[in-house]
């Protein structure tokens, strides 16, 4: 039986459909809403490539059952900013050229955005700790740190 889940995504009310209430939110966002800034990386909440904001907090949507998000406010990378109105982190990632393959970058930006929303002028160590659970295999870390520090300065 198809169930319908109402929630807000990037400020817009949406109704998501599934036969299986245990389906992770990731598949609804990517396959039904076509929001593909977030990526499937591990399905185990280990890498962070799928991170979205859930009531403003970083959430790994690859393990979040869709039935648990009814009524929630969710923001994805597409909702964080646009080329016309970039979030300071998006601009900083461009300015620092902080990507190699870029598959993990959604998670880096979304995790950092949630962190910077509550931490002003973090130290580099705090940034490293805030991103400790986000994996990158290309070795872009040094640029990502620089980008987050740059955005933090802008946002301070």
């Amino acid at each position: 039986m198809t169930i319908a889940i109402k929630l807000t995504v990037n400020g817009k009310p949406q109704v998501l459909h599934t036969e299986d209430p245990s389906m992770p939110l990731l598949y609804a966002l990517r396959d039904e809403l076509g929001l593909h800034g977030l990526h499937f990386g591990c399905g185990l909440a280990q890498c962070g490539a799928c991170t979205v904001h859930y009531y403003g907090e970083a959430l790994r949507c690859c393990v979040m059952p869709i039935s648990a998000v009814a009524g929630a406010e969710v923001v994805t990378l597409e909702g964080l900013g646009t080329p016309e109105k970039p979030h300071p982190l998006q601009q900083a990632f461009i300015d620092e050229q902080a990507a190699q393959c870029g598959y993990c970058i959604n998670g880096m930006i979304m995790q950092a955005a949630a962190f910077l929303a509550t931490t002003r002028r973090p130290s580099e160590d705090q940034v490293r700790q805030a991103l400790a659970g986000n994996l990158c295999k290309c070795g872009t870390h040094v640029r990502i740190i620089r980008a987050v520090m740059r955005a933090a300065e802008k946002m301070a």
């Binding site: 599934t18 036969e19 299986d20 389906m23 992770p24 598949y27 990517r30 396959d31 076509g34 929001l35 593909h36 800034g37 977030l38 990526h39 499937f40 990386g41 591990c42 399905g43 185990l44 280990q46 890498c47 490539a49 994805t76 990378l77 597409e78 646009t82 080329p83 970039p86 998006q90 990632f93 461009i94 050229q97 902080a98 990507a99 190699q100 393959c101 870029g102 598959y103 993990c104 970058i105 959604n106 930006i109 160590d125 940034v127 490293r128 700790q129 991103l131 400790a132 986000n134 994996l135 990158c136 295999k137 290309c138 070795g139 872009t140 870390h141 040094v142 640029r143 990502i144 740190i145």
Partner: protein, 741 residues
């Protein structure tokens, strides 16, 4: 909506041009739709300028690159080279990559050759086109060719007067020319695009979430599949039961062929649910070596052939002549490629034609292999490159593509197959283990009198057919394709003028697990041995590690790298300060390579901290001096070097594949950890730019020197030699325990 296919076929480039430089195309409005392979007539012959370049009647340039963007920035750099040589603004060039129907076969995107080979080939094509256009302009303007200059795609007389844009020259005609290898190249002094830190083409879309990875490709009518890979590496499928899957809405069917088993559904989650629900019975198989005795297995593996790859003087006599003899054995564990996004491909087989959207680093090789596997003519197979997550070599992409192709052929529908995390960690072909033995002798003055090395490294998997496609293995389909690249480059020699040396490769027949190349294959392993052993010799001879390298290096560019590195890293003579006796010992090590002995020079100094009580190693800082000749994009180059450093620190101190007698057991990031932010070193880089030299690669050279620099730093800090990569705490503690206090 996710983007539907926006194939490059909409351009008006597909006139029947044969081997033409299609400088214009006068017909047909753009149409955005996929077209079957056979309608395409554009030349892909790399002898034709038109295989690489098209200029339309608005002066827009399309570049067809056989080399692809794997996240390294190579395509931005190649686009710079093209725009520069054509003298058009960078933004006027659109680059199409790795489509077997459209792009010439420039070989796989690997081995740090994208700029060095692929870019230079494109530079020559662009130079040829520029010359041809100048000739046309000379005729049209009535001005001698050498009196003309080109700026932003407009040819004008140097001394004033009317000019003519490329677009107008092109008119409604086509220019058919062959690439002229002797076409005059621009003087690097005139460069305005090459050598500049042009921002990467792909990064904005990647930070706004609008980039289309292969995982985002959608084809009308596309179904979703997941693989059920065997429970053991060579287990046989005895049977399966998918009765419970039929309760899953959207589940369609299983696809079985031999040991190949997949599930297909109308939506992605149903495919995943079915893969978790289906019951497969696999035969028992336990043919892998005991993990704890991996290097015994390697040493006892059957040798296919021995190859002496470097020999100077008489090493046996040299070894006898010394008064002090050293020997050491170095070993390196297996690695997975560990792509952050699991492999994914979309395949569409219908009417005897196969199209595969693939993240393969080698679309042309994949096409050849798929054609053999499915007994098709290569011209009926089209592979279209779409970026996946970084692959760092031959990861699971081609295997996943082969599986998608087989499923699509079996069901007659387009299908998207994405691997799950355990598929990528479990089934990507692995970087094989390596074992290296060294012997050397020193005379009374500490001079080396002889040096011998023996490497035990598998070669066989790639000799006949690239890396065998997994679908062909599982479904027992034809496998043997065109010759692949060697797994480990044989240019493993030492970059130093050390007298009386013999270096022998013992190519092994077997690998514990199916093998493929991972970044700097063979070069990282051999450089680890060479540069660690030289450090041991330096210590035995009482010579500073920089000094011993300078003593035996005769190459001026190499010496410049070492001298700059000595200053850049503020190196102090080893032994000028006492070792840290406290709980955390700090030290630094140097390593140097001339990649494959013929190209990019790189030297690094690693600063490390070693916790004596735990054996934990932290790499604090890595200083790099790098000379890859002419730099195309200095910021892209820095990004690559940083990536080389951080990724290889991860391989050196953290990453280690684990396995049972049956299968890989490090199936996710919990069991196969990698370096994380708190432990990422600071990376500082000094680039040597040589605009008048040829450009060499940078995708791998820095990788080759990292493990040895860290090992040498651990020795500097503690007096302990670590000779087994990775330098995990247990390895380091064991080495610390062997140091006389």
């Amino acid at each position: 909506m996710l983007p539907m296919l926006d194939t490059p076929l909409s351009r008006r480039v597909f006139l029947k041009g044969g081997g033409a430089l299609v400088v214009t195309f006068a017909l047909a409005p753009p149409a955005i739709e996929a077209q079957p392979s056979r309608s395409i007539t554009k030349s892909v012959n790399p002898d034709d300028v038109g295989a690489f370049l098209a200029i339309d009647d608005r002066g827009m340039v399309t570049l067809y690159s056989g080399k692809v963007e794997l996240g390294t920035g190579a395509v931005t750099a190649i686009t710079q080279m093209c725009a520069e040589e054509l003298s058009v603004p960078f933004g006027r060039v659109t680059t199409i990559q790795g489509d077997t129907a459209l792009t010439p076969n420039q070989g796989p995107t690997f081995a740090s050759l994208s700029i060095q080979d692929g870019g230079v080939q494109i530079r020559r094509a662009a130079a040829t086109a520029r010359e041809a256009l100048l000739e046309q302009a000379a005729g049209k303007l009535g001005v001698a060719k050498n009196e003309l200059a080109v700026h932003d795609g407009v040819i004008t007389p140097r001394h004033g007067g009317n000019g003519v844009p490329y677009a107008e020259l092109v008119g409604d005609r086509r220019l058919m020319i062959k690439v002229n290898p002797a076409a005059p190249l621009k003087d690097p002094k005139e460069y305005t695009i090459v050598g500049k830190p042009v921002p990467r083409l792909d990064i904005p879309a990647k930070v706004f979430g609008t980039f289309n990875f292969v995982q985002d490709v959608k084809v009308p009518g596309m179904l979703h599949a997941r693989m059920i890979h065997p429970a053991a590496v060579r287990a046989k499928l005895e049977g399966f039961n998918d009765a419970a899957c039929r309760k899953i809405t959207g589940y369609l069917r299983a696809v079985r062929k031999g040991d190949f088993l997949a599930v297909v559904a109308s939506n992605e989650w149903a495919a995943i649910s079915a893969s978790n629900t289906i019951v497969a019975r696999w035969s028992a198989w336990a043919g892998l070596p005991d993990e704890s005795k991996l290097f015994e297995y390697v040493r006892n593996s059957k040798v296919e052939r021995d190859v002496v790859f470097q020999s100077e003087g008489d090493s046996a006599a040299g070894l006898k002549r010394g008064v002090k003899t050293l020997q050491a054995t170095y070993e390196l564990a297996m690695n997975t490629h560990g792509s952050i996004g699991p492999s994914c491909a979309v395949a569409d087989y219908r009417n005897g034609q196969l199209t595969v959207w693939t993240p393969s680093q080698a679309s042309h090789l994949l096409r050849a292999q798929l054609a053999i596997m499915l007994q098709m003519k290569p011209e009926n197979v089209r592979c279209i490159y779409v970026e996946g997550a970084g692959c760092y070599g031959r990861n699971g992409s081609d295997d996943c593509s082969s599986e998608a192709a087989l499923i699509s052929k079996e069901i007659g529908r387009p299908v998207r197959l994405q691997w799950m995390r355990q598929d990528e960690h479990g089934w990507d072909p692995k970087g094989p283990p390596a074992l290296l033995d060294y012997r050397a002798s020193l005379d009374a003055d500490g001079r080396i009198t002889g040096w011998e090395a023996d490497g035990f490294i598998p070669e066989r998997p790639l000799r006949r057919s690239g890396v065998t496609l997994l679908a062909a293995v599982l479904a027992d389909l034809p496998k043997f394709g065109p010759p692949g690249a060697p797994l480990h480059n044989i240019g493993l020699g030492i970059p130093y003028a050390i007298p009386n040396n013999t270096l022998t490769a013992h190519w092994l027949i077997d690998t514990p697990l199916p093998a493929a190349w991972i970044r700097a294959p063979g070069r990282m392993q051999n450089t680890f041995g060479n540069e660690s052993f030289l450090d041991e010799i330096a210590d035995a001879a009482g010579v500073d590690p920089f000094e011993i390298r300078v003593r035996y290096l005769k190459d001026p560019r190499g010496l410049e790298v070492l001298e700059r590195l000595r200053r850049f890293a503020k190196w102090e003579q080893r032994g000028s300060k006492p070792r840290d006796a406290g709980p955390v010992a700090r030290g630094r090590g140097v390593s140097y390579a001339k990649y494959e002995l013929v190209r990019t020079y790189v030297g690094v100094v690693a600063d490390v901290s070693v916790e004596r009580a735990t054996g934990r190693v932290k790499v604090d800082r890595v200083s790099v001096v790098h000379d890859c000749g002419q730099i195309i994009n200095p910021d892209g180059l820095r990004n690559q070097i940083e990536g080389n450093v951080v990724q290889t620190v991860s391989r050196s101190v953290v990453e280690k594949l684990t396995f049972s007698r049956s299968a890989v057991t490090s199936l996710n990031w919990g069991s196969y950890p990698i370096l994380t932010f708190p432990n990422v070193p600071e990376v500082v880089i000094d680039l040597i730019d040589r605009p008048n030299e040829v450009p060499w690669g940078a995708g791998e050279p820095t990788t080759s020197v990292i493990p040895s620099a860290i090992a040498n730093a651990i020795f500097d800090a503690t007096g302990a030699r670590v000779r087994s990569v990775p330098f995990r705490p247990a390895t380091v503690l064991a080495a610390l325990a062997s140091v006389p206090r």
